[in-house]
């Protein structure tokens, strides 16, 4: 936690919820807003209204942003089991083709809650069948539940997926861009 204007603000993955992490990521990736405004919005999303910074010195604000962004690099342990609302969920560092296809769909559409959706794909409820697990409505419901969990639960899986998919692309399993089955009329 970091103290800003007398308030405790989360800035580590084990303090931020997945939802907060998603908001911060979305704002950080928005190149249409300038860095000061971007961080005002990030702090606002974490509970400090923008107006409280109106009398703040810019140099001090920049220092604050640096402190906020300089959380220590921590190797977060991989969490493989969770209990949420009375149900047990298990995840493995393993990707099936079906998981990858769903994650790929999320990556292409980039919905706002993509981290929680990916976590929802990776964590499977122990008492459900695969068909139930992959049902669209179930994934959405689970993503909503997981949003409130801390981001350190999802991040190791995001890293694993990124590494895995990069490895697959390097291995040449990507879609041909100039497919012979494509008409060039």
């Amino acid at each position: 936690m970091i103290t800003i204007l007398g308030r405790e603000i989360p800035n580590r993955l084990d303090e931020l919820t997945i939802e907060q992490f998603e908001n911060i990521t979305e704002l950080s990736n928005n190149k249409e807003i300038d860095p000061i405004d971007r961080h005002l919005q990030i702090f606002a999303s974490l509970g400090i209204p923008e107006k409280e910074f109106f009398d703040y010195d810019v140099a001090d604000f920049i220092q604050l942003v640096k402190e906020f962004n300089s959380s220590p690099k921590i190797e977060y342990p991989t969490i493989e089991t969770l209990e949420v609302e009375g149900y047990n969920y298990t995840a493995k560092m393993k990707l099936t083709v079906r998981d990858t296809k769903l994650i790929e769909k999320i990556a292409i559409n980039k919905p706002k809650g993509y981290v929680s959706e990916i976590a929802a794909i990776m964590f499977k409820r122990d008492d459900l069948t695969p068909a139930e697990h992959y049902a669209d409505a179930h994934i959405k419901h689970k993503a909503n539940l997981f949003k409130k969990l801390t981001a350190d639960i999802a991040i190791p899986y995001l890293m694993f997926i990124a590494t895995k998919i990069n490895h697959q692309v390097d291995a040449g399993s990507d879609t041909p861009t100039d497919s012979p089955t494509e008409a060039v009329e």
């Binding site: 790929e104 895995k164 697959q168 089955t181």
Partner: protein, 249 residues
């Protein structure tokens, strides 16, 4: 010749193991859904096996076995298939060319079975021992189905052959076809005056009905003669049109 993968999935080893139907199905996969969607669909089409539950490392291993599919099938083709022979393109009649042009413009990969159905013809010898090809009067869809189970390599080269023929044909008769304008962007359309908009609409209508308009003109507005005109050799029709235009008659 099919290849056995570690998962005992029998994979085609080359384009000649892939049927026309499979080739069309692969072409129809929505590539915007991403490479993994594409790969699993291709594998399903090639093998009939649902691989969704296997690990992606294993899938990558399988996919790496059909890298040959990134190259084109051979541009050669068989001139005789299913007891039929390819009609020489220079001998196409008007209706045959119009239909081929339609299927090529729409999507020649999706329509390759129909393209084959137009080009492969039954034949017989006449009383002078000359080869006579069947007229273009059969059920095109029923004929097209016959080609679906053949290896794609038997017919793929026909695409290239027709494209070359059409390219040359359009060059030779370029004065009859005129310039094809590119489609205007939404921004360009917004800048058009009402008169220019009306002109663009007219051009679109003319382009949509260009073949019908041509036939209507050739039959002197008597549509009962259109079958007879459609059966005329393509080059004869265009030579006559060229003559009419040059002599302004």
């Amino acid at each position: 010749m099919l290849d056995q993968t570690p998962l005992q999935i029998a994979l085609p080893k080359q384009w000649s193991d892939v049927t026309v139907e499979q080739f069309i199905e692969v072409a129809k996969i929505d590539k915007t859904l991403g490479p993994w969607h594409y790969n699993s669909e291709v594998l399903y089409i090639f093998t009939g096996e649902d691989i969704d539950d296997i690990d992606i490392d294993e899938c990558t291993q399988i996919v790496s076995k059909f890298k040959w599919a990134l190259s084109q099938p051979s541009t050669k083709y068989k001139h005789e298939l299913l007891g039929m022979q390819v009609k020489p393109l220079a001998k196409l009649c008007l209706f045959e060319y119009i239909d081929l042009d339609y299927y090529f413009t729409e999507n020649y990969v999706y329509n390759i079975d129909k393209i084959c159905a137009i080009l492969f013809r039954k034949s017989k010898l006449n009383e002078w021992d000359e080869v006579i090809l069947e007229p273009y009067e059969y059920d095109l869809n029923a004929r097209a189905e016959l080609f679906l189970d053949l290896p794609i390599t038997d017919v793929y080269g026909l695409i290239n052959e027709f494209l070359k023929f059409r390219d040359n044909f359009l060059k030779v008769y370029s004065n009859l076809f005129g310039e094809q304008d590119d489609e205007l962007s939404d921004e360009e359309k917004a800048k058009l005056t009402p008169e220019e908009k009306a002109e663009e609409e007219d051009e679109k209508k003319n382009s949509k009905w260009s073949w019908e308009r041509m036939i209507y003109g050739l039959t002197n507005n008597d549509i009962t003669k259109s079958e007879a005109v459609g059966a005329l050799p393509l080059t004869y029709v265009f030579n006559m049109l060229g003559m009419k235009k040059e002599l302004d008659i």
